[in-house]
C-alpha cells in the first residue's frame, strides 16, 4: 500500500516527459530539441500551423515514431526500446487518429469496442462489463453491438471509434483533431464528453489529454495548458490564459489566430481605450467583459448603435 502511494506520487510528479528530443523523417528534421512534459490531470492543447510537427509529436508520445534522439520518460521510466533501439508502442496511451471512423476494421460493433481489451488479454466478463458501462456515455445502444460498424451513421462511427480507444482506460489520451469535419453541435458534444471523461479520472490515476486542434476557440475553451509548435520547435508551453491573454505575440509569430471572442475583446478595448481583464480566456468570461463594456457605454449616454 505504502509502495503504491509512493509510486503514485512519483507518477503524479513525472507524467510524460520529453527531454531534448529531435526527430528526422526521411532525412528532414521535423522536431527540433523539444522539451515538454505532459502532467497527469491536465488537458494540453498542441497547436501550430500545418506542417509544424504536431502529428509527429503526438505519434512520438505514443511510441509510433521508431527513431528519435533525446530522452522520453514515461511516468518516471525511460521509453522501452527493442534490441535495435527502436521505440516501442505504448499500450497505456490512447490515440485517436484524424478521421477515426476511417480506421474501424472489425466486423461488429462489439468486436471493435473490445479489440484493445482482447489484445490486452482481458476476460470476456471484464470486456462485457466495460462495454456496458461505456456505451451510454457515447450514446450508443446495446442493440447496435452485433451490427456491422459500417452500417452506423457518420457521427455514431466517430463516437464508436473514440469509445473503442477510451474503453482501455488510458492514462494519457492523444486526440489528433477529433472534431474535424463535424457540425458545430456534434463538435461541442464530443469535446464536452471527452472533457468529462478526462475530469472523471479517479484521484490516484488522473487522466491527461493531448489535444491537437486548429480551432483556437476550442483550445481556449477546454485546455489547461497550450503547447505551441512552430517549424518543429516548441515556442511555448504555458497556461491557455497566459498565452491567449498576455502572450498573443507568440501566436502571431507562429502564424496562428486568436480565438474570435478574444479578437472581439481586443477590438472593444481599442475602441473604448480601457483594458478589460477577463477572468480567463474562456468564451463566456471574455464575452462577459465585452458586454460590460457595451453596457457601461450605454449608461454614459451615448447612442448605443454608434461605436464607442
Amino acid at each position: 500500500m505504502v509502495n503504491r502511494i509512493k509510486k503514485t506520487v512519483i507518477e503524479q510528479q513525472s507524467g510524460w516527459e520529453l527531454r531534448d528530443v529531435c526527430v528526422k523523417l526521411d532525412g528532414t528534421p521535423v522536431l527540433k530539441h523539444i522539451d515538454l512534459t505532459l502532467e497527469p490531470g491536465t488537458w494540453t492543447a498542441l497547436i501550430g500551423k500545418t506542417g509544424a510537427g504536431k502529428s509527429t509529436l503526438a505519434r512520438l508520445f505514443k511510441g509510433l515514431i521508431p527513431e528519435f534522439t533525446g530522452e522520453y520518460r514515461l511516468e518516471g521510466q525511460s521509453m522501452a526500446r527493442d534490441r535495435k533501439g527502436r521505440a516501442r508502442v505504448v499500450p497505456e496511451i490512447g490515440f485517436v487518429f484524424q478521421y477515426p471512423e476511417h480506421q474501424i476494421f472489425e466486423t461488429t460493433v462489439e468486436k471493435e469496442l473490445s479489440f484493445a481489451l482482447r489484445m490486452r488479454g482481458d476476460s470476456s466478463k471484464e470486456i462485457a462489463a466495460a462495454i456496458r458501462t461505456l456505451l451510454p456515455t457515447f450514446g450508443l445502444s446495446e442493440e447496435l453491438l452485433q451490427q456491422s460498424p459500417l452500417l452506423l451513421s457518420g457521427g455514431q462511427k466517430r463516437r464508436l471509434a473514440i469509445a473503442s480507444v477510451l474503453i482501455a482506460n488510458p492514462r494519457l489520451l492523444i486526440l489528433d483533431e477529433p472534431t474535424a469535419a463535424l457540425d458545430p453541435v456534434s463538435r461541442r458534444e464530443l469535446l464536452k464528453l471527452l472533457r468529462d471523461w478526462q475530469r472523471n479520472g479517479l484521484q490516484h490515476e488522473q487522466r491527461a489529454v493531448l489535444f491537437i486542434s486548429h480551432r483556437m476557440e476550442d483550445v481556449a475553451e477546454y485546455s489547461d495548458r497550450v503547447a505551441l509548435l512552430h517549424e518543429g520547435r516548441l515556442l511555448t508551453h504555458d497556461t491557455a490564459d497566459e498565452l491567449f491573454l498576455h502572450r498573443s505575440e507568440l501566436l502571431s509569430q507562429a502564424g496562428m489566430p486568436l480565438p474570435e471572442a478574444i479578437e472581439l475583446l481586443r477590438l472593444t478595448e481599442q475602441l473604448s481605450g480601457r483594458a478589460l481583464n477577463p477572468a480567463s480566456c474562456r468564451e463566456a468570461d471574455v464575452l462577459e467583459r465585452v458586454k460590460e463594456a457595451w453596457n457601461a457605454r450605454k449608461e454614459t449616454g451615448g447612442p448605443s448603435d454608434e461605436p464607442f
Binding site: G94, A116, M119, V165
Partner: protein, 272 residues
C-alpha cells in the same frame, strides 16, 4: 521518395536509356510483334536466337538484372507447375520412370522446358516495357492505339480513364492500409512474426473496411467527374500529346527487321 511512392512507380525504373525515350506506342507494338513471333518459333535454333534478342533488349533498358529476377519470383510456382505438368503427363516414347498414370518421358521434359522458356521469353520483354515506361504514359499509348475501336462504339477513352484512375489510386489505397494498420497497433496489436502466412491472415480482416472505403471513394469520384462535365469524354485533349520521332521510327523498323530475321533463321538455320 517514401514507401508508397516507391510502390506506385513499382514497375517503372527511372534510367537514361533508349528504351526509356521511345514512344509507348512503338514499344507496345514491338512487344506484341515479338510475342507473336515467339509463339511461331518451332526449332531450338529459333529459341536461341530469340533468347539473344531478348537479352539485348534487357541490356539496352539499363535496368538492373536483379529487378527482372525479382519480378519473376512470384511466377516461380506457375513456371514450376508447368514444367512438372509437362514432364509427368506429357506423351513420349522414351520413358524414364512411371508411377500409375504419371509418366516421366524425355519428350515431356523437353516440351516442359520449351513452354517455360517461351513464357520467360514473353514475360521478360513485357517487364522491360513496364520498367521503362511510366504507367500513365503507357495508358496514354494504349488509348491512342485503341482509338480506331471507338468507331465501333468501343468506349476506348472511358476505358483509358479507368486505367489511369486505377493507377493513380494505388498509393491512396496503400495509405489506407497503412492507416488501418497503425490504428490497430495503437490499440495494442503487435504484428506477429515474419511468417508470411500469419501476416497474410492479419491482412484479411482489413480487406472489408478497405473495400467499403474504396467503394465510397469511387462513388465520390464518379460524382466529382460528372460535376466537372466529363460527359462521354468525346473530343478531349491531352496535356502532353505523343509524337513519333526519328528514333521511334528507326527503333520500330529495327524491331521489324530483326523479328523477320528471327522467323527466317528459325526455318533455315541448321536444326539443332
Amino acid at each position: 521518395m517514401n514507401r508508397s511512392d516507391r510502390l506506385l512507380v513499382g514497375q517503372f525504373i527511372e534510367r537514361e536509356s533508349i528504351l526509356h525515350r521511345l514512344d509507348p506506342r512503338i514499344k507496345l507494338i514491338s512487344l506484341l510483334m515479338l510475342m507473336v513471333v515467339i509463339m511461331m518459333l518451332d526449332h531450338r535454333s529459333g529459341y536461341v536466337a530469340a533468347t539473344i534478342a531478348v537479352v539485348v533488349i534487357l541490356l539496352v533498358s539499363r535496368i538492373p538484372v536483379l529487378f527482372y529476377l525479382r519480378g519473376l519470383l512470384p511466377l516461380l510456382p506457375v513456371l514450376l507447375l508447368t514444367l512438372l505438368y509437362h514432364a509427368m503427363l506429357g506423351k513420349g516414347q522414351t520413358i524414364l520412370a512411371s508411377y500409375g498414370f504419371l509418366q516421366v518421358t524425355v519428350e515431356g521434359i523437353e516440351e516442359g522446358i520449351r513452354i517455360v522458356w517461351r513464357i520467360l521469353l514473353m514475360i521478360l520483354p513485357a517487364s522491360a516495357l513496364t520498367g521503362t515506361t511510366r504507367p500513365l504514359v503507357l495508358a496514354q499509348g494504349l488509348e491512342t492505339l485503341l482509338k480506331p475501336l471507338s468507331k465501333l462504339r468501343v468506349p476506348v477513352e472511358q476505358f483509358s480513364l479507368m486505367v489511369v484512375i486505377a493507377i493513380r489510386f494505388i498509393p491512396t489505397i496503400l495509405e489506407e492500409i497503412q492507416r488501418i494498420g497503425l490504428a490497430k497497433r495503437a490499440r495494442g496489436f503487435e504484428p506477429s512474426s515474419r511468417n508470411p502466412l500469419s501476416r497474410l491472415s492479419e491482412f484479411i480482416p482489413i480487406l472489408v473496411p478497405l473495400l467499403v472505403s474504396t467503394a465510397r471513394r469511387a462513388d465520390h469520384l464518379t460524382l466529382a467527374i460528372e460535376a466537372r462535365a466529363y460527359g462521354d469524354g468525346r473530343g478531349r485533349t491531352v496535356y502532353r500529346p505523343l509524337c513519333l520521332t526519328k528514333l521511334d521510327l528507326a527503333a520500330g523498323l529495327l524491331m521489324l527487321l530483326s523479328l523477320s530475321a528471327l522467323l527466317v533463321l528459325d526455318d533455315y538455320l541448321p536444326h539443332i
